[in-house]
């Protein structure tokens, strides 16, 4: 399986990662090679086998709806690259797309 440069750019767009041309070429080679290694899985018969998403049987965990201490707003906001008062500040959402 060989990916085209356009496939890599489309994936990068989905993953929200900017790549330069060298990175695109490099990833095209690396990902294509990995996909080749995955072919051995196709040879394993999994007809009717359920998928395992998690290895321990975990159910929903509920707790009492009790008031408990949590992080102060300043503790959270002070870690943001850009803020304005009590808000996280981001670049325009609509103009860019």
């Amino acid at each position: 399986m060989v990916l085209a440069a356009g496939d890599v750019r489309r994936l990068a767009r989905l993953a929200r990662i900017s790549l330069d041309d060298d990175e695109v070429e490099r990833l095209r080679d690396d990902l294509s090679a990995c996909l080749d290694h995955f072919r051995v899985l196709a040879d394993i018969d999994t007809e009717g086998v359920p998928p395992t998403a998690h290895v321990v049987a975990l159910g929903s965990v509920e707790r009492d709806d009790a008031v408990a201490p949590s992080l102060a707003p300043e503790d959270v906001l002070s870690r943001a690259p850009r803020r304005e008062g009590a808000y996280l500040r981001v670049r325009p959402v609509l103009e860019a797309e």
């Binding site: 990833l27 990902l31 090679a33 899985l41 290895v55 870690r79 943001a80 670049r91 959402v93």
Partner: protein
């Protein structure tokens, strides 16, 4: 030894005894440890940050507890934390530029539990960026070197934690294990590390990579130290709903039970592709187990185990691509690249903040989860995961342990595999199945090949890590591989 002089080559339980008897104080131990770590780190680069202030503060508290007779097995004992574990007030980077300067507001549960146990945090150990790697060469802060041979890697991703314990910098460290990243570096550096069963240890506050696979686990030099460290961090955590309600057993009584009556499965699949010297060392270890009461059964069928490697490299990147979506340059970490719009800004932040291996995994995971490929790749890998698990359950139904080499070869040279991802991934061939099935596994030193340590891996039944510690203690009682120390590059700094 003169009063106040500290022997840094001791194990954690030896330090605990010395501290309780007043041979030296926790502050003296912490100061001597930081001093040695600074000297060693010029050669090893095992740390992203050595935290002297925190170490001395923790140690002062420990001395107070000791004076009041409240010391436990970890009180005053120096511990390194892989820098994937959040520490309130101490920078936590995951070895990524995207988290440079990030100082968490609170401790991970494991860090909080260690604090309660009186342990002394001396530093944040180096790792592959976001734990993605098998050599610690993918750290944005530069590689960690193997104390046994400075031209070689210490393994990864917990390479810093492994190197510093192997070099006698600290007696204990915490790492994380997603596909063998506790056991593989332990094998390559000649120490003991245990991957607890999935669900045993809280991951609250541990930077997430592959949530259905990873566990936090202890590194030390002998079974007793590893047991004490695991006991301190294990158990249900209301803040991590994937922790299991199974009660944590008392590990220490297990350590004296010996090997009598244990049935050991030796699967051929775990020896295929191993180097000759590695096989010889492991065979010699199997002889020791048998001579001391274990029953060996060869030819146990685990023929699907090699498929765990490709299955892992679909499942883990898929989970990573989702987990790492949170690094968007908005809430914390790096950001503010000055992009014209939100999406450009996000792409630029992530493009500049993630290293090549992390980008590779995110892209692979994005591919495996994308429309048109989901069934053929991700779902297929999860179905194969079920089959592998059933095969392991069959093998473990009749046996207590599955024993094998930890890695196919000893530590490889720096740069040797960094340009060939799949060659790098192959070093995890024998360790990945334990993560795929979620069962506990341990690695311990069992010999040397060309002066480099070889690791013996034991994999156990679900939540039977006590049996692994028992077998480790029994093996260590009759061998001395764990007592060998590397030629640490700080001879001048050795304690008297």
């Amino acid at each position: 030894m003169s009063p106040g002089a500290v022997d840094l080559d001791r194990t954690a339980h030896e330090h605990a005894d010395a501290l309780r008897s007043g041979e030296y104080t926790a502050v003296e131990l912490a100061a001597a440890t930081v001093d040695r770590l600074r000297r060693q780190d010029e050669a090893l680069h095992a740390y992203i940050a050595i935290e002297e202030e925190r170490a001395l503060a923790d140690a002062a508290l420990a001395d107070e507890a000791l004076r009041e007779g409240e010391g436990g097995p970890l009180t005053g004992v120096p511990v390194a934390l892989k820098d994937l574990i959040a520490t309130a007030g101490l920078q936590t980077t995951a070895a990524s530029r995207i988290l440079e300067g990030y100082v968490p507001a609170e401790d991970a549960t494991v860090a909080a539990r260690l604090r309660r146990a009186g342990a002394v945090v001396v530093g944040k150990a180096n790792l592959d960026e976001f734990a993605m790697g098998s050599s610690t060469e993918h750290s944005a802060y530069g590689p960690t070197l193997n104390p046994w041979d400075l031209d070689r890697v210490p393994g990864g991703s917990s390479g810093g934690s492994a190197a510093t314990v192997a070099a006698r910098g600290v007696p204990l460290a915490l790492g994380t294990d997603t596909r063998g990243t506790i056991r593989q570096p332990a094998a390559l550096t000649g120490i003991v590390r245990l991957k607890p069963p999935y669900g045993r240890v809280s991951r609250y506050g541990v930077v997430a990579f592959a949530s259905s696979l990873e566990q936090v686990g202890p590194f030390g030099r002998d079974a007793e130290d590893v047991a004490n460290l695991l006991a301190a961090i294990a158990g249900l955590d209301p803040r991590d709903s994937t922790t299991a309600p199974e009660p944590v057993p008392d590990y220490l009584p297990e350590l004296g039970r010996g090997l009598d009556g244990l049935s050991v499965a030796v699967p051929d699949a775990f020896f295929e592709g191993a180097e000759e010297g590695v096989v010889e060392a492991v065979e010699a270890a199997l002889d020791v187990l048998e001579a001391n009461g274990a029953r060996l059964v060869r030819g146990v069928d685990l023929s699907l185990a090699p498929a765990a490697l490709p299955a892992y490299y679909l499942i883990a990147p898929a989970e990573a691509s989702a987990n790492l979506a949170r690094y968007d340059g908005v809430k914390y970490g790096a950001g503010d690249t000055g992009g014209p719009g939100l999406w450009d800004e996000m792409e630029r932040t992530r493009g500049a903040g993630f290293g090549p291996e992390v980008k590779r995994r995110i892209m692979l995971g994005t591919y495996a989860l994308s429309a048109g490929y989901y069934d053929a790749y991700y779902l297929k890998a999860q179905r194969v995961r079920t089959l592998i698990r059933e095969e392991f359950d069959r093998a473990l139904a009749g046996h207590d342990l599955i024993v094998s080499p930890t890695t196919p070869g000893p530590a490889f040279r720096l740069g040797e595999r960094v340009d060939d991802p799949w060659a790098m991934y192959l070093s995890d061939l024998y360790t990945i199945p334990a993560n795929i099935v979620g069962y506990p596994a341990v690695s311990m030193p069992c010999g040397f090949v060309e002066g480099l340590p070889v690791g013996l891996q034991m994999l156990g039944r679900p939540f039977a890590e006590g049996t692994l510690l028992r077998a480790t203690a029994a093996y260590q009682a009759v061998t001395d591989w764990h007592g060998r120390s590397p030629p640490v590059p700080d001879e001048a700094g050795r304690a008297p």
